[in-house]
């Protein structure tokens, strides 16, 4: 095991404006599971894309089994036995599993036609050999994300990879699927002698799975250590570069009163398919209601319906007793609803507008920022922005730079600052910490809890179960547009909720 299989030495890669990898060195041993952790933008993916030949480093050298090699393209990487499973799957949805697996290296019949039968046979053999069960005839579009990932792994194995790079493989998986994936990885390594590099930012997974772990921060390598010598605290501190306190967030008892009532809502998604099939629940002041579910089960549509961005087909909802079904977004805002959208770049802000411009939306027609609703009082607007930037710790050199220049975490803080400053009684918060750094996550979580303690009603939609469990008072599971379960936070475990999220269990506790 101690054999150094790959060494990357002094790798530097600069993109305009940022140094993604700054003199990074790492070594991978044969037969190990090596985790690479770091916050978003730490340079993990860049480093692995260099190893896989997708990027060319500005300087530095890669050694394979002690010999210097140049990996100019993924073809070179594959020749060395390096394969990569990307965060976003690269499968053809309308093809079958077998077709996807042999894509690019299809078995031929008379050198022209794809030999589909042989492709199926190859898939079956492959599936048998590695113990990864798949149905070769199934169309990829009909399969769950977990299975799609399995196909990606098979594809890589089919190309003869001995070293498999997995980029954030668990980001889209349920707890059950994650466990299954880990079993597969273990098998590949222990039984079949493969080497696995896994990129992630979930520390629990690192500790559960890996042999060694390398931490990166802001393009630099912080260090590599044996997983047995590490714990969550140590890794978090290495990632962030300072002490991280996982403090318990204190929840106060607050008077509860129903503020949002949803009755049997049905709505269609952008493709015209029924995404919500009769959803009913109520939300109270002073509580956080978490909506758990695998992405694409109607959460986005639910949020859009409740904020006036999507038409309801059937059913109604009321805000503070006022019928609000199919109101426009402005009317719903006027009823005291704030919204942190899941897609911050396309909906939460305008990347081309300055921070000041981004922060004033929603207030741009109100006194004192707009005299008589029309003449902008730029001084007042700037003062407010300045105050909010300070209050919400948005790190920026100036309020006049365009929002597109901010980091993900600071963009999100800016959005949180804007939405939370309206003093709304209802906050609809979708994926509030997706892709942002630990410091910003802590901050956003604290703000949400504080709002709750002040008596706001919060609807939290998140694909991150840890987040749901950390913040929610009550949890609802959504599966295929229907509510499959409702629980008090303390009543249920993560594993159990996974069953409700995948429709394998149903009923109310």
């Amino acid at each position: 095991m101690a054999e150094k299989l790959i060494e990357m030495k002094n790798i530097t890669k600069e993109f305009p404006g940022v140094v993604a990898n700054d003199n990074v060195s790492i070594d991978i041993k044969e037969g190990e599971i090596h985790a690479i952790v770091g916050e978003n933008g730490a340079g993990k993916s860049t480093l692995m894309k260099i190893l896989y030949g997708l990027y060319k480093p500005d300087s530095g050298q890669i050694y394979f089994k002690g010999n210097p090699v140049e990996i100019k393209s993924p073809l070179d990487a594959i020749r060395l036995g390096i394969g990569m499973v990307h965060q976003h799957f690269m499968l053809v949805p309308s093809f079958t599993v077998a077709e996807n697996i042999v894509l690019g290296v299809e078995p031929r019949r008379r050198r022209i036609f794809t030999d589909y039968n042989r492709a199926v046979k190859m898939t079956e053999e492959l599936s048998e050999e590695y113990g990864l069960k798949v149905d070769p005839h199934a169309r990829v579009e009909s399969l769950s994300v977990g299975i799609q990932q399995r196909i990606e792994i098979l594809k890589v194995l089919h190309k003869g990879a001995d070293i498999i790079i997995l980029d954030e493989p668990t980001a889209v998986l349920t707890p059950q699927e994650t466990e299954e994936l880990f079993r597969v990885i273990r098998r590949l390594v222990d039984k079949l002698g493969k080497t696995v590099i896994i990129i992630t930012h979930k520390l629990q997974e690192v500790l559960a799975l890996s042999d060694r772990v390398t931490v990166m921060r802001q393009g630099k390598m912080v260090g590599t250590l044996k997983t047995q010598d590490a714990n969550e605290q140590i890794l978090a501190e290495m990632m962030v570069g300072r002490e991280v306190l996982f403090e318990e967030l204190e929840k106060k008892d607050v008077a509860r009163e129903e503020v949002l009532r949803v009755n049997n809502i049905k709505a269609r998604d952008n493709r015209g398919l029924l995404a919500l099939r009769g959803v009913s629940f109520s939300l109270h002041s002073g509580e956080i209601l978490g909506i758990a579910g695998v992405e694409g089960n109607g959460q986005s549509e639910l949020v859009e319906v409740l904020t006036g961005l999507r038409q309801v087909e059937e059913g109604t909802f009321t805000i503070n007793g006022i019928e609000a079904t199919n109101m426009d977004p402005l009317q719903i805002r006027e009823l005291g609803v704030s919204h942190i959208p899941e897609d911050r770049l396309s909906r939460g802000l305008s990347v081309d507008a300055t921070i000041t411009e981004n922060m004033i939306i929603g207030n741009h027609r109100k006194e004192p920022y707009a005299v008589r609703g029309i003449h902008l009082n730029r001084k007042k607007i700037r003062e407010r922005t300045k105050r909010l930037i300070k209050e919400y710790d948005v790190r920026t050199p100036s309020q006049d730079i365009v929002a597109g220049n901010l980091s993900g975490g600071n963009m999100q803080k800016m959005i949180v600052a804007r939405e939370f400053s309206f003093d709304s009684k209802i906050l609809i918060v979708a994926q509030p910490t997706r892709g942002i750094d630990i410091g910003a996550i802590e901050f956003v979580h604290k703000e949400i809890i504080e709002k709750r303690n002040e008596g706001a009603a919060i609807l939290l939609v998140s694909a991150d179960l840890d987040e749901i469990f950390r913040l929610s008072d009550r949890i609802i599971t959504l599966y295929e547009g229907q509510i499959t379960g409702e629980f008090l936070n303390k009543e249920i475990s993560k594993k159990e909720i996974g069953l409700y999220m995948t429709g394998k269990a149903k009923g109310l506790n």
């Binding site: 600069e14 300087s59 411009e357 902008l376």
Partner: protein, 356 residues
């Protein structure tokens, strides 16, 4: 000033400079002396009181069509139909001027402007509604409506409203009261320039200092964000389009009331298209429109003198204008390339120091 703005101004001046140099090479290639050519160009544009007045007169319609383009492009709905709106506006003003021929200027001129504004505005409203209601591409609709307006007014002035003398392709002269006063002898510069100054100030205020201007800008930048933030996106798009049409209509009216005193079949040599180029170059900034319109106006005026004096064809300035656009369009790409080059240089220097 913001860093982006400084960078933009630098690349703008470099673009203009480069375009002029290339223009010089074209003169050379045709066996002319570029120094003589440019001298004639500058002299022709600002060499005398009369020439300056002519330059200003040429600037008037360009400012209006430039502002019209700015407001529509800012809101993300693209009015390519300025030329058609201009023709209808011009015809509307002429129609008032030849039917209510005896009206005094104090009533007649505002009335003519009002009619032209309505004509231009309504002609822009149609594609705007088609866009927000039925999602029909406004670019294609407005382009086609140009042809409709030009041919329609062409028919009208050749048949129902043709002047009595000969086949002019023009209406009768409008009533005396409608004529805007000329300001400089022999030149067509007239009081419309004062109207344009006022309109520019209003447009600047609207776009830069009001919540409506803010909403227009946000809608153009990110429609999803605007809707989410409570802006009525459709209403803002229609508003921007109609204001754009009104400005083009008024630009047409000024050609009738101040320059020709009648509607002509070919009243615009493409003012709306030039306005579009101007707005593109200055990124829809209203003050930038004024400066760039002056520059374009000077090029146009100067080029005629240049042709007369040196024989260099006046079309050369169209080439120069186009090259400026090309450079500006490539601005982002060039900037990244240049920045990337310096970044790599810095990096290899750093690496060199480390190794040493």
């Amino acid at each position: 000033m913001k860093k982006e703005k400084v960078e933009y101004l630098i690349s703008l001046f470099l673009s203009i400079f480069a375009a002029l140099i290339i223009g010089g090479f074209i003169m050379l290639a045709n066996g002319r002396n570029p120094i003589v050519g440019f001298n004639a160009l500058i002299n022709g544009a600002i060499g005398s009181k009369y020439k300056i007045a002519t330059t200003l007169a040429k600037t008037v319609p360009l400012i209006l069509t430039g502002l019209a383009t700015s407001i529509s492009f800012r809101s993300g709905i693209f009015n390519i139909g300025g030329e058609g709106q201009l023709y209808l506006g011009a015809f509307g003003a002429a129609l008032v001027g030849i039917t209510l021929i005896n009206l005094p200027g104090l009533i007649g001129i505002p009335l003519a402007l009002l009619v032209s504004a309505i004509a231009g505005g309504l002609y822009a409203l149609l594609p705007a509604i088609l866009r927000v209601k039925y999602n029909i591409d406004e670019v294609i609709v407005t382009i086609m409506l140009n042809t409709v307006a030009v041919l329609l007014t062409g028919y009208l002035v050749n048949y129902p409203f043709a002047a009595d003398v000969g086949k002019l392709g023009a209406t009768e002269i409008i009533g005396e009261g409608y004529h805007l006063s000329r300001l400089v002898r022999l030149s067509t510069l007239n009081t419309s320039i004062f109207h344009v100054i006022v309109i520019t100030i209003i447009m600047y205020y609207l776009l830069e200092r009001t919540s409506i201007g803010y909403e227009i800008k946000m809608v153009g930048q990110n429609m999803n964000f605007s809707r989410y933030g409570g802006i009525n996106v459709k209403r803002r798009m229609i508003f921007a389009m109609v204001v754009s049409g009104i400005l083009c209509g008024i630009a047409g009216a000024f050609e009738v009331l101040g320059v020709h005193y009648r509607f002509l079949q070919h009243i615009s040599p493409g003012y709306a298209w030039d306005g579009m180029l101007i707005a593109l170059i200055v990124k829809n900034n209203p003050l930038g429109v004024v400066l760039m319109a002056l520059f374009f106006g000077a090029l146009k005026t100067g080029s005629i003198s240049m042709e007369n004096a040196t024989g260099i064809p006046s079309e050369l300035i169209s080439v120069i204008q186009s090259i400026i656009i090309l450079f500006i369009a490539g601005e982002a790409g060039f900037k990244d390339k240049i920045k990337g080059y310096f970044a790599r240089k810095r990096l290899s220097k750093k690496a060199g120091e480390k190794n040493a």
